[in-house]
C-alpha cells in the first residue's frame, strides 16, 4: 500500500532512476561530474524553486520536479565552471515560473537550459558518453519508468522513439548502409534519456493524446533533420526547445485535460 502510494507520483520513480543513472555514469563510465557540481546544481535548483515558491506564495514547496531537473542537468550538461552550471540550474527552474502560458510552463526546464548554454558555447553535452554497452541497462530503467507511471504519458516517448528510429532505418535503407549503422545509432543512452525523461515531461506536452502524438512525431522529424541534414550533433535538444512553443497552439486546436502530478488535483505543483 505504502509502495503503491509512493509510485502514484511518477516523479518518485524518475528521481530514483535518474539518481541511479548518474551514480552508474560516475562510477563505471567515468563521467566527469565532480561531487561539488552535483551539490551546486542540486542546491541551486532547490533554492530557486524555494525562492519562487515564496515569491509567488504557492501553497507548498515541492522539491521533486526541481530535483528531476537538477539530476537531468548533472547527467547531461558539462561546464568549465560550477558557476555556469549553477546558472543553468537557476535558469532552468526559473523558466518554469516565468515562461508560462495558460497555466502551463512552455519549456522542459532542463532542455531549455541545456539548449541555451550549448548554443552560446558556455557548456557542452557529450551525447556519446553512455556508449552502447550500458544501453540495455538504460533501456530497462526507462521502461521501468513507463510501468510505474502506468503509461500515463508514455505515448510521447514511444511515438517519438518509433518515429526517430524509423527515420534512422529509412535513411540507412536509402543510403544502402548496413543495418549495423542504424542499430548503433539507436542504441544511444542519450536518445533514451531524452525520450523518457525530457520530451515525455507531462507538464510540457500537449494535453490531448492526438496532440501529444503529433508533437512527438514533429520533434522526431525535426531532430532528425537537424542531426542528419544540417549535421548539428545536439539536434535532439534543439528540436525540443524550438518546437516546445507549438504545444500552446496544439492545446488550443486539440484541447485535453491538463496533467496533474500524482493524480491528485489539489494544490498544483509547479
Amino acid at each position: 500500500m505504502a509502495i503503491s502510494l509512493l509510485w502514484r507520483d511518477p516523479r518518485h520513480y524518475q528521481i530514483l532512476s535518474l539518481s541511479l543513472l548518474l551514480a552508474a555514469g560516475v562510477a563505471w563510465l567515468g563521467f566527469d561530474v565532480p561531487y561539488a557540481c552535483i551539490g551546486v546544481i542540486g542546491g541551486t535548483a532547490l533554492l530557486t524553486q524555494y525562492a519562487f515558491t515564496r515569491w509567488l506564495r504557492l501553497p507548498s514547496f515541492d522539491p521533486k520536479s526541481a530535483l528531476i531537473t537538477a539530476l537531468s542537468l548533472c547527467i547531461l550538461l558539462r561546464g568549465n565552471s560550477p558557476y555556469i552550471l549553477a546558472l543553468a540550474a537557476c535558469i532552468a527552474i526559473a523558466s518554469k515560473f516565468l515562461l508560462r502560458v495558460h497555466g502551463k510552463h512552455v519549456f522542459n526546464p532542463a532542455n531549455l537550459a541545456i539548449a541555451t548554454f550549448v548554443f552560446f558555447h558556455q557548456a557542452w553535452i557529450s551525447p556519446a558518453q553512455w556508449g552502447s554497452a550500458a544501453w540495455c541497462a538504460f533501456l530497462f530503467a526507462c521502461l521501468g519508468g513507463l510501468v510505474t507511471s502506468r503509461a500515463k504519458r508514455a505515448d510521447v516517448a514511444l511515438v517519438f522513439l518509433a518515429c526517430y528510429i524509423g527515420l534512422l532505418f529509412a535513411r540507412a535503407f536509402w543510403l544502402g548502409d548496413p543495418l549495423a549503422i542504424p542499430l548503433k545509432q539507436m542504441r544511444s543512452g542519450a536518445l533514451l534519456l531524452f525520450a523518457f525523461f525530457m520530451i515525455s515531461d507531462p507538464k510540457t506536452t500537449p494535453d490531448s493524446r492526438t496532440g501529444r502524438v503529433l508533437f512527438a512525431a514533429l520533434v522526431a522529424v525535426f531532430a532528425f533533420m537537424l542531426q542528419y541534414g544540417l549535421y548539428i550533433p545536439q539536434g535532439l535538444i534543439y528540436a525540443l526547445a524550438l518546437l516546445a512553443p507549438l504545444t500552446i497552439l496544439i492545446d488550443r486546436l486539440l484541447p485535453g485535460r491538463k496533467y496533474v502530478w500524482g493524480n491528485h488535483s489539489k494544490g498544483e505543483a509547479v
Partner: protein, 467 residues
Amino acid sequence: MKHAFYTAAFLATLIAAPQADAFCGFYVAKADAKLFNKASKVVVAHDEDKTVVTMASDYEGDPKEFAVVIPVPTIITKEQVHITDNALVDHVDAYSAPRLVEYYDEDPCRPQVMYEMKAMGGMAMPQSAAMDSASRSAALGVKIEAQYTVGEYDIVILSATQSGGLETWLKESGYKIPDGASAVLGSYIKQDMKFFVAKVNLKEQEKLGASFLRPIQVAYESPKFMLPIRLGTVNANGPQELFIYMLTRKGRVETTNYRTVEIPTGMDVPLFTKSEFGDFYKAMFDTQVKKNDMRTVFVEYAWNMGWCDPCAADPIPSDKLLELGTFWIGEQQQGSTPMMKPGAMVRRFNPGYRPQDVFITRLHVRYDRAHFPEDLMFEETSNTQNFQGRYVLHHPWTGEASCQAGNEYHAGLPARFSKEAQNLATLTGWDMETIHEKMESNGQSFNPSEIGKPLKWYQQMWQNKQQ
C-alpha cells in the same frame, strides 16, 4: 547555431603503410602491393564550418603504387590543396605524445630541492603515398569536377551519380578497388560527397628530389565535422590505428557517435619502465582497448597549444600552426619572443603565446568495421580542461640517510614499490612476477636488507638502458 557547422572531413585514405590497410579510405594500388597502415595521422584544424585536414601517410613502397580515394564534402579546387612537410605533423605528434616524467626523492634526512625531468616522446609515423588515375566518364555517371597537380601529386576531384559507375571508372583508370567498396561509395554519393583521388606524379616528385611522400592538406567549408573511415575498413586486414590531432579555437573535440574517454594517466610506475616506455604504452593501450570492447575513442592529450608542462616537444610556433590550418591566428602570428616561465625546467611557452587561440585534442582510435560501422562524427566543445597521458617515475633517494627519518623512509619503500608494480600490472596486464624481477634488478628491491644500499657504479651506469 554554430554547432551546426561542422565539417566533414574526408579523411583520408592517404595513408598507406607497409603493414596495414589504408585507414579512412582504401588504398588503391595498381599492382598487387598490399597497402597496410597500422597507424595513420591526421591533423584537423577546425573552426565554425571551416576545416583544414592534413593527411600524413606512412606509405613507404614504390610511389607508382600509391593511390588514395577520399570522400570529401565539397568540390576541392587547386587553391584548396596544399602540400606540407612531414616534420610538421611529426612535431604535432611529438608535442602531444603520452609522456613519462620522473622525480627524484630528496634526502629524507635533509630537505632539498626536487627535480623534475621529462622524458619521452611519441608515436612515430610515416609518410605519404601515391596513386594513379585516368579519365573516362559521363556514360558511367562520373564527372571530373577538377583535375590538377599540386606538388608531387596528381589530383582528380570526382562526383558521381551511382556507385557502380564510380567503381568502374576507378577500376578502368587503374585503381584497385576492394570488393565491397561499392556499397560504401554509394552511401557517400547519396550523402552528396565528392571524391578526392590522388596519385604521385613521378616527374614532379623527381624534380623535388624527395624520396618520400609529403602530407596533403585540403581546406574546405562544410557543416560536416567528420572523418570518413568506412572505405578504409572495407579491405582492412585487422584493426587499424588512427591518430587525430584536432586543432580548434574553443576547446576539446569529442566524437558524438562513439564514447570519448581519457586514457588512464598520472600513475606511478616502476623505474624500469623508462627503458621500455614504448612497450609499456602499447601494452597499456591494448589493455584499454580490450577493456572498452574496442568501441571508444581515447583522448591522449588536450591542451592549450601555447604551452606544455612537461613538454614532450617544444610548443609549435604560430607560423607552423598557421601552416597546419589554424587560419584564425593568421593576423596575430607575428610576435616570436619565447616566453619562459622563470624557474620552470621543462615548461615552455609558445612564441607569440596566445593561450586562447589554439587548443589541441589528440584522439587515438583503434577501429575495424565491426566495432566502428559509422564514420567518426565530431563536436567541438567549450571544454578547455587540460589533460595529458602522463606516467610517473619516482627515483628513491640513493645516498646516505642514517637518521630516524631516513629509516622510516626506507621502511616505506617496499610498499611504494609494490604499488608501482601493481599499477604497472593493472595498466598493461603484464605478469607481476616478471615486473618484480625487473624491479629487483633495477635497484627497486622489495628485500628490506637491500633497501637503502646505494646502487653499484655499474648498476647506475646501465640502470636505464634497454636490455
